[in-house]
Amino acid sequence: MIPSSQLAFGRLVAKKHQLDNGLSVILLRDASAPVLAYQTWFRVGSRNEVKGRTGIAHLFEHLMFNQTMNLPPGEFDRRIESVGGETNAGTWVDWTYYVTNAPSGALHTLVELEAERMQHLLLGDEQVESEREVVMNERRFRVDDSVDGMLNEALYQRAFTRHPYQWPTIGWMPDIEAITIEDCRAFYRTYYAPNNATLVIVGDLDEDATLAAVQAAYGPIARQVLPTEQLPTEPPQLAQRRWEVHKAVPADRVQLGWPAVGEGDVDHATLDVVAELMGGGNASRLYRALVVERELASSVQASVAPFRDPGLFEISIALTRGHRSEEAEVFVDALLQTLAKDGPRPGEVDGARARLLTRFWTGLRPQSGKAEGLGHAEVTLGDYRRLFEAPQRYAAVDAEAVQRAVAKYLQPERCTTVVARPLEKP
């Protein structure tokens, strides 16, 4: 099979193929270690859910490890572990992906097992109920007993009024409890189809033999009719939104979010640079003002969501005891206004760009990092070859672009703020 496209990856080359049933296969031979990263990316996440059934995409991630027509419960993991492999999976707003890292000799086992669960998953009471309990415990761990998890959930719930990004990927607890077996079966039929998936295999592999094995195992799986996605557009935010709660915290914690752009937008890289300038390192503006100079906060983070549709530009601050969130918020506003008015200092953008590049290359070091980068670009940006757009776009960001992006996206009236304050003494 001739690759439909390819991408130079440093000294390596990634190649994409497509089976007749629509399954995309991206292969990258990297023989630097005798291991394989085998990832299956499905174009389904919490964006594809509806109110009342939030959390089903994530619950499904759990169900995929359970039982298939030809594999009793636990056998999937057991067989992978028996060859020295390890499995994991992740679900977010735009995608769900399944990860196996294994010695390179395990390729045929991985192909067989992954093809099996793409077409023969069993969904009955027993499978759904045990995983539902696990997911409810996961929610308690990640959200209900985690101040940062709870605040981030509250931030997106309030910043979005129409788009599905308003609900958490793990789902609301009553929705997790309400999901039925019929819901799960319909979800599987609809989204777990070869023409909704991309297989990414990186490592010490023979390309022809790998492709032949994939063709033999996945080729017979029938393509499905995929639903046309029609998501509501989020209306512009015209006024500040604010929410506060009292929790068992020793000092205020605050998260702020501004509607930003999707990862494919050229301004995304500019906002990445802005996040670096504000909270990306010890010399960043907000860190220096709040942590170093005034000691109002113990930590500061800034980032822009890597989503297909516009997510949020986020700032998260942990205040020190005795200080209130409002003291930090004043600085956030002032520093953003200064950046919009005066722009970055000479050399400031160069440093931010170099830090982002260092992080970019570091993330691509292991085979699993390369596979993740390729899979994310293919599913979120629509083409794995766009992986290397990020460094090119960072290089194009200049002081003027930073000023323009701050003025356009990070105005106070577009900001949603959520705050956790210490419990009041009785």
Binding site: P73, A354, R365
Partner: protein, 428 residues
Amino acid sequence: MTEVLVEENHDLPIVRLTAALRTGGADDVPELDGLASFATELMARGAAGRSRMAIDEALDALGAQLTIHTHHDGAQIEITALRDRLDESMALLCDLLLRPDFPVDEADKLRREQLAHLDELREEDSLVAGRFLSSRLFGEHPYGRTLTGTEATLPRLTAEAGRAWHDRAVRAPGVLFAFAGDLDTDAARRLVATYAADLRESDASYSTPYAAPTVRTGTRITLVDKPERTQSQILLGHVAPDWRDPGFDGLLVATHVLGGTFTSRLMDEVRAKRGLSYGAGARLGQGRGAKAFVINVFPSLEQTAETLALVRQLYNDFCKRGITRDELEFARANLRESFAFNLATPEDRLDVRLTSELAGFPPDHLARFPERVAAVSLEVINEALQRLMRPDDLEIVIVTTADELRPALEAAGLLEDATVEVVPYDHD
């Protein structure tokens, strides 16, 4: 001659530069708990006449990432940078390492920052549980040090104390340099010769083994009380044997059977069959001295008593009945085949070597892991489980809302064979 470790890979244009110290948090005296971490952090707050701000700006301009990591057996100061910034990055790393200024005003500020970080740490229930378990297991032993310091010891950590620590710790042979990524051995040696030529020497011994800790008998349950919990973070364990014990390799394999994989006994019984906890695992520590054997689970508050009873039963059975031949074969295959991941990237390979160096393992101790695993027999493993593990002498730490949980523990009879303490979560 200063020791230099190198792991090459030229696929990507990045290099990780590490200065590793053979002095760690466990070497702190109890009254200065947290000093190693404090001193290494302070080294980046003023060096070679440059202020903290100037250092931060230099890192920014290089696009480099600075990581300072202090653990019990050592400390690492690392810079990850693009290949074309290698010399400037090494020059900066060596300024921090060899020429720190220990400014008093920065020491005062760092102390306040560390106190604030204690607050942040207390918001993570798993970290709170780990902190209490270490102090319960090890007490005054070096492995009982918190690494971060406590509210009692942080006020004693001064610039002067940091300078004295540096004077002891940053001397050959207590320092080694390690490089991973896009450079070769000649380039690494040139960097060390150029920028670290003034590293002083010492006759002191480094990475020496610690004495065995005192082990208490009986089971103790510590309820770490935190308001509004919906679930409990449970850690239970005891002091483990030293890696030098002939039964230790067998225990490593057995611990893998109990809680080292997704299909382990704990995951199967706690998560897969009953859905009681999102995660369930077991680990066996090894280092310069005897470390800990620890099991962790985190069930909902309502299911905490059921989960704790189940886990204690599983651990009892594990110690008394041992593992089966099938389990041994499965664990052996998994450990042997998965070992490749420990060596997959240059950073991974370097970390294996650094861990061995700082823990005082023989040079090939970790590299020979697959052979050692292949050599252990079922009889040796099960004898070691009975001889070395202590299911009746457990420290059990539960971060939970104590008033709500305690009646359930009493009703389940889980407090009958144990002493019980309730402590507030923000109490060191």
